[in-house]
Symmetry: C2
Subunit: 360 residues, 2 copies
C-alpha cells in the first residue's frame, strides 16, 4: 500500500516522509520501547506518559503502518457508530458533544470513528454487516439501548465487540456486556425526594415508551422515591409511552382533569415536560406555584422557557469519551464484563418547582 | 486480509460466505457487467438501476474486496468530516440530520464516513494528516466555511480532494473547488422585500462574525434588498460580529436606543434573534407589532418562543446528502469545478413580523 500511495501523492513529498517511533522517542526523551508500549496502550505505562506520547504523535503526524498492523492484529483501529434516524428526537441537541467526546478520546488513543445511519432494523443489520465485511470497524458503540435490544443481540451472535450507552433487560444486561449508563433511577428518586420535601403529596410521572431501557429505570426510580418519602403509588398518576412534546401536553391535560389532580409532575424527558408549559398557558396556571414540574436531560430549550425547567443535566461529552475508552479497552483485550460504568446526573434547579399553593 | 479475517471470525460461518457480483446479478435479473458498472458508479447506468443495485447489495451484504480494491484504486471509499468543537453553536440541533444525509447517500454508493473532531487549527491539521497517512479517508467534507478558510488552503496544498458546505472568498471561491451552498444573499433580500412590503422603512441588520463567509453574503443580501426596495442604507443600522444570544440582545438594545430606531430587525441567525425577545420583554414591546423580527436557520427554539419567529428553514439532511454525492463524484473523477450547487432556503412565517405600529 505504501508503494501505491506514493505514486498517488501528486508530487507532495511531505506525505511520504513517514514519522517513525524513533523520531517520537527522540523528541520526547523516552526509549523506543516505552513509546511503542505507550502507543499500544500497555498498562505498565503511566496514563500521563501515554497522553504525552499520544499528543506528540499527533503533533508530529506519527501513524503506524495501518494495513501491516491490521494484518498483524486483525484490527483497523476504528470504532463504529450507527445513528438511528428513526429515533424520536434524533438525539436532540447533544450529538455534537457526544461525537466530540468519542472522537477526542479515540484520537488520543490513535483510533478513529466510522459513523453510519439506519432507519430500520434491517437496514441497521445490513449496515453493520457491510462495515465488518469491508474491515472498516472493529467494534460498535450503541447509543440509547432498548430493554430487548436487537443490535446487542445481533452483534453478540456475530461475536462482534460492542459497548452500550445504557443497559438492557431492565437494568440487568447480560453479564458479559460492556456499558456506560447514567443512574436514571437515582435521578428520579432525587426528584421525588425534592418534591416531597417541598410539601407535594400527589406527584405524577410521565415516562417514555417502555421499550427503552431508561424508561423502565426512570419509572422504577419514581416508584422507589415515592416509597422512600412514604407516599402511596397511585397507578392513575403514572403515564407511559409519551415521546413528543404534544404527547407530554396531552398527558398533563389528563392528569389535571383527574378528580384529585397532582400538584407536581415528574417528566422523564425535558422535551415532553415542555408540553406541560403549553397546558399551563392554556389554563392560566402558574408553573412553580399552581403546578410544579421537573424534567430530565438538560436540553437548551429547558433554560429558555419561563420559568426555566428544573432538570438533570447530562454530560454528553463525558459519556462519549467514556464509551470510546471502554470499547478500546475491550478491543485491546480487557474482559467486557469488567467494563461497566454508572454515573450520576447532577440536578440543575430552575423555577419550575416549588411548594404547592395549597398544602393538604 | 481475507485469510486473517477468517481465522478471527469466531466460528461464525455466515461472515465467510462472501456474496459475489454473480449473486447480485442473479437476484436482480441483470448481467454481471451491468451490476459491476452500477456498483462502480459508471454514468452509462441509469440512476434508478444504480439505486436498485445498491439496495440489493446492502440487503444481501455484498461488499467488494476492500483492500484489493484499495490497492487497485488507491481509494478506501471513505469520506472524512472533521467537526470543529470550537464552533460557537456546536452546529446547533441539525447535526443528526446533516450526518443522516451524508451517511445515507454514502451508504447508497457503498462508501462510509469517518468523523473526527478538533478544537484548534493545529489539531485540525494533525487530525487530517493522520487520517490520510492511515488511509482512513479519501477526501473531506468541510462544514461551515470561512471567508479565508485554513482547511481549504491546507487540503489544496496537499492535493487532497474536498467539498465545502458554503463558499469562501466572499462567495467567489477558487474556481477549482467544489461546494454546496444555500443562497444566503437571496434569503436576506427576500426578508427585506417582505418587511418593506409591510411598510417598514428603518430596517436593521445584525450579522455574525465577518470571518464566516455566510456572514458577508447575508450582509450583501441585506444591502441589496434595501436597494431593491428603494430604502437608504444607514450604516448605524448594521451591526456585525454577533454570535450568541446575549450579543443579539445587546445589539437590539443599541438599535432601540438610537434617536431614530428601526421598526424591524433582520437577524442573520435565529440564535441571536432570540436575544431580541429578551429585550422586548424587558421593555414591554410587543414582537410583531412594536418590533418586527426575522431570523435565519429554522432552529427548534424559533418555533417555541411567543410569537414564533419568522425564519428561513434550512434542510440539513439534503445538504449532507448533496455534499456526499458531490465529493464521491469528485473522487470518481468528475472535475471539481463542475461540482457546485446553490439552493434556496424557504421562508417559514411565524408571528414575529408584521406592519409597523406607526407608519412614517
Amino acid at each position: 500500500m505504501e508503494e501505491i500511495r506514493r505514486t498517488k501523492s501528486h508530487g507532495d513529498k511531505s506525505r511520504t516522509r513517514r514519522v517513525r517511533i524513533s523520531d517520537l522517542a527522540q523528541a520526547l526523551g523516552l526509549t523506543k520501547s516505552t513509546v511503542s508500549r505507550a502507543l499500544n496502550g500497555y498498562s505498565d505505562i503511566a496514563p500521563t506518559t501515554r497522553a504525552r506520547v499520544a499528543k506528540m504523535a499527533a503533533q508530529m503526524g506519527y501513524a503506524p503502518m495501518p494495513y501491516a498492523q491490521a494484518v498483524r492484529t486483525g484490527r483497523v483501529r476504528a470504532l463504529g457508530l450507527v445513528l438511528e434516524l428513526d429515533a424520536p428526537d434524533r438525539y436532540g441537541p447533544f450529538l455534537a458533544d457526544f461525537l466530540g467526546g468519542i472522537t477526542q478520546e479515540a484520537s488520543l488513543e490513535g483510533w478513529t470513528l466510522t459513523v453510519s445511519s439506519s432507519s430500520s432494523r434491517s437496514e441497521m443489520e445490513a449496515t453493520v454487516t457491510r462495515l465488518l465485511q469491508e474491515h472498516k470497524v472493529d467494534g460498535f458503540i450503541l447509543p440509547r439501548t432498548q430493554v430487548d435490544d436487537p443490535r446487542a443481540a445481533f452483534l453478540s451472535a456475530k461475536h462482534v465487540p460492542f459497548v452500550m450507552f445504557g443497559r438492557t433487560d431492565h437494568g440487568r444486561p447480560d453479564a458479559g456486556h460492556s456499558w456506560y449508563d447514567i443512574d436514571n433511577a437515582g435521578a428520579m428518586r432525587a426528584a421525588i425526594t425534592r418534591l416531597a420535601a417541598m410539601g407535594h403529596r400527589r406527584i405524577a410521572f410521565v415516562g417514555p415508551p417502555a421499550s427503552f431501557n431508561f424508561a423502565l429505570l426512570r419509572r422504577d426510580g419514581y416508584r422507589e422515591g415515592l416509597a422512600q418519602a412514604g407516599l402511596a403509588h397511585d397507578p392513575v398518576l403514572e403515564i407511559m409511552e409519551v415521546a413528543e412534546r404534544e404527547e407530554g401536553a396531552e398527558a398533563a391535560r389528563r392528569l389535571l382533569d383527574l378528580p384529585d389532580p397532582p400538584s407536581a409532575i415528574l417528566y422523564a424527558t425535558d422535551a415532553t415536560a415542555l408540553g406541560a408549559y403549553d397546558v399551563a398557558r392554556e389554563r392560566g396556571l402558574e408553573i412553580g406555584r399552581d403546578l410544579s414540574l421537573i424534567g430530565y436531560d438538560g436540553i437548551p430549550e429547558a433554560r429558555l422557557v419561563t420559568p426555566p425547567l428544573t432538570t438533570f443535566a447530562v454530560d454528553s461529552h463525558h459519556a462519549g469519551a467514556r464509551l470510546a475508552a471502554l470499547l478500546i479497552a475491550q478491543l485491546r483485550g480487557t474482559d467486557p464484563a469488567e467494563l461497566t460504568e454508572l454515573v450520576e446526573a447532577p440536578l440543575r434547579a430552575g423555577g419550575s418547582d416549588g411548594p404547592p399553593r395549597t398544602r393538604e
